[in-house]
């Protein structure tokens, strides 16, 4: 057998365990789950076939539209901020120096805390008579309603998400940064390159695979925002922080409309697949040429 032939066989064998696992535990249940969107089902009793009614219902549901807007708004803020902050942190802590282990651990620590605990702290700090407003008053800024305000609550959820995520993506960038062989920097040093030149001509291009990953994953996390809303605001006040996945969850498990919820989940899935395909084509799969 040719080398090429061996490579093809090896390729499939290597892929098999995960492929089979994903097929059984994700793809198959997903197909079943999305299939429910064609029915009305309260979780008890019979399922009633209704075709695409649930999909039409979505676009006439003001709360769904609001959840869609909230989700998009959140993604537009979360993805770039998350990217920039975690990259900046990774660059800061990349070089070994005194006490760097301490800083690395501190920046990563929020990721290890359960969201419930972070929400506990957040809901206390961002009370109207809370800590955050006290700090603002030092600068002469008047008290904000914060979590109780339909306009401001989403930003607080965003802050919580960023706090809980940047350490995570920082670690990913760190590993990616170290993927770049030292030799390239050494050579540049000989030529007298500055920090920014290093960054633009060596770091950023070679970071493309990692950047692509961070972009896609943060996009998925942003669109699927659920946990942070669940622990901090419950979608309130008055749906100001209700995201699609959260609204779908409520629709299924609090209002017992599993079919309608599945339709929302499926729409979310399609949006993500389309967006990711676009990004994949545009960024050439994050491959470095």
């Amino acid at each position: 057998m040719t080398r090429k032939g061996k490579e093809i066989i090896a390729g499939w064998i290597f892929l098999l365990p995960d492929l089979v696992g994903l097929a059984i535990f994700v793809m198959f249940p997903a197909i079943l789950g999305f299939n429910i969107s064609l029915y009305n089902w309260s979780g008890l009793g019979q399922m009633k076939f209704v075709g695409f009614t649930n999909y039409f219902k979505m676009f006439q549901d003001p709360i769904f539209i609001r959840s869609l807007t909230v989700t998009i708004k959140y993604v537009l803020m979360f993805v770039p901020l998350n990217f920039l902050i975690s990259l900046a942190l990774a660059l800061l802590i990349k070089k070994p120096s005194k006490g760097i282990t301490f800083f690395r651990t501190v920046y990563f620590a929020p990721v290890a805390i359960s969201l419930v605990s972070i929400a506990f702290v957040w809901s206390y700090i961002f009370q109207q008579n809370g800590f955050f407003n006290s700090v603002l008053s030092i600068f002469g800024i008047p008290s904000q309603t914060l979590l109780g305000s339909m306009n401001q609550a989403l930003y607080i959820v965003l802050a919580l998400s960023l706090y809980a995520s940047v350490g995570y993506f920082m670690v990913i960038f760190l590993a990616g940064l170290n993927d770049i062989p030292e030799e390239y920097y050494d050579a540049a040093k000989v030529d007298g390159a500055s920090f920014w030149q290093n960054f633009w001509y060596i770091t950023f291009p070679l970071l493309k695979p990692t950047s692509f990953f961070v972009l896609i994953i943060s996009l998925i996390q942003g669109f699927q925002l659920f946990d942070q809303v669940y622990v901090l605001t419950g979608g309130g006040p008055f749906y100001a922080t209700s995201t699609i996945v959260y609204y779908a969850f409520q629709t299924a498990f609090e209002y017992y409309q599993f079919g309608y919820a599945a339709a929302m989940d499926f729409l979310m899935f399609i949006i993500l697949v389309v967006l990711s395909l676009i990004l994949y084509k545009v960024l050439k799969g994050g491959e470095v040429k």
Partner: protein, 417 residues
């Protein structure tokens, strides 16, 4: 490393398989976790299991927030609900309409049914039959900081205007005047009912054909909420706990007054605040009107489709009528009002304490049981509340919208009420 893993896994597999080989039947009993109350239930479960080694009860505790939402739903959706579980009036109809509830008619004597307090009996009666056993009665009141009231020379408010005035006097930079529930949850609705009813309002007519929510009474109640949260800003639009059913905010001095239930009495004894406390009935809308509180409380039901229905019923009846469970639950483990007159009589010493006086003499006589509206109706009402508190919607519009939504729902609803 890999070999050791295989050994561990194999041993586990054997243990797991072994656990399936017991020949006894198991009765699954699901409830939301209560670290303080559950030891009592566990005690009786163990007692039963010793007396009946072939029909053991498996008591499962589920985190409160996930109990009705994910855990029960997932279990029933996959076709296998628990044999015994606790249900709140808000969910009762849903299970009833799906034919999940086992009727208790044949198992209770007339004396036992008459022994229930009317509010408790109403809770478990649907279409003239009994479908569960009521465990507790939980009315709401307004707790207040007695020390502050004395300092500011404030007396107990007798109507809504006075309540708002007092709250304004007590609101400072560091303290809210009156804590009402702002969270988008079912509990928020529960705490709204006393205000709706004390204004003379209601949600639907008695045979559920039409919504009565678009009324001056409902608008007055919604206006009160908007005044408290938005106009006079005496109520916090966000709270640091998951809901105001937790009196820790009151105990911390976060608010001078907080609407809460009788369960808080025990917590206030265990974790006393730094001030003297008391509670008073939710004031009527105008002086001389009737104050009507809402009475909550869970119900124990049996799954009609359970393969061990008879055993489940046996256990439930034993727990409620042959043991001290109810009395201990209400007077020792927690501070709750009982659902049976006989239990109340037998615990007279406990209920005669000054702490209970106002609940028993003033609040309970006029209190109404928690309604059992369907989730669709709840959603319409919650939206009305959230929109007037946060969305600057006029109470008249909010009431009208909610009534319309409820009417739309009722026109297709064919279940029980």
């Amino acid at each position: 490393m890999k070999v050791r893993l295989k050994v561990v896994v194999s041993v586990l597999l054997i243990l797991v398989l072994a656990s399936f080989i017991s020949l006894a039947t198991t009765i699954s009993f699901w409830k939301f976790t209560d670290t303080y109350g559950d030891p009592l239930i566990i005690k009786y479960v163990n007692e039963w299991n010793q007396l009946h080694p072939n029909t053991k009860v498996d008591f499962v505790e589920i985190p409160w927030a996930q109990y009705t939402t994910t855990k029960l739903s997932a279990a029933f959706a996959s076709g296998q609900g628990p044999d015994i579980f606790w249900v709140s009036p808000g969910d009762e109809l849903r299970y009833y309409n799906a034919g999940v509830l086992q009727s208790f008619d044949k198992y209770l004597t007339k004396a036992q049914i008459d022994d229930m307090f009317p509010a408790a009996r109403d809770k478990v009666t649907i279409a003239g039959h009994v479908w569960g056993l009521p465990i507790e009665l939980e009315p709401l009141a307004i707790y207040y900081n007695k020390t502050l009231f004395e300092q500011e020379h404030i007396s107990i408010p007798q109507d809504w205007n006075e309540l708002l005035e007092d709250a304004q006097k007590l609101t400072t930079k560091d303290r809210w005047g009156l804590i009402l529930d702002p969270t988008p949850t079912y509990y928020e609705l529960f705490t709204f009912y006393p205000f709706l009813w004390s204004a003379g309002g209601s949600v639907v007519n008695s045979d559920w054909t039409k919504s009565t929510f678009d009324s001056t009474a409902a608008i007055a109640a919604l206006t009160f909420y908007q005044d408290a949260f938005d106009k006079y800003k005496v109520s916090p639009k966000s709270i640091p706990t998951a809901g105001t059913n937790d009196p820790s905010t009151f105990i911390s001095g976060f608010g001078a007054m907080q609407e809460c239930g009788e369960w808080a009495i025990q917590q206030l004894e265990v974790n006393p605040p730094k001030f003297k406390w008391g509670y008073f009935p939710i004031p009527p809308m105008t002086k001389g009107g009737t104050s009507i509180s809402v009475v909550g409380g869970w119900i124990q039901v049996v799954n009609k489709n359970s393969p061990v229905v008879q055993d489940a019923m046996d256990f439930t009846l034993w727990l409620f009528f042959k043991t001290d469970f109810l009395k201990q639950w209400c007077t020792v483990q927690n501070s709750k009002l009982p659902t049976f007159k006989s239990i109340y009589e037998s615990a007279k010493d406990y209920y005669n304490s000054p702490d209970w006086k106002v609940f028993i003499d003033q609040i309970l006589p006029t209190a109404q049981p928690e309604p059992r509206y369907t989730p669709e109706m709840d959603l319409a009402l919650e939206n009305a509340l959230q929109s007037v508190i946060f969305g600057n919607v006029s109470p008249a519009v909010a009431a009208k919208t909610a009534a319309q939504q409820i009417n739309n729902f009722l026109s297709t609803y064919t279940g029980a009420h």
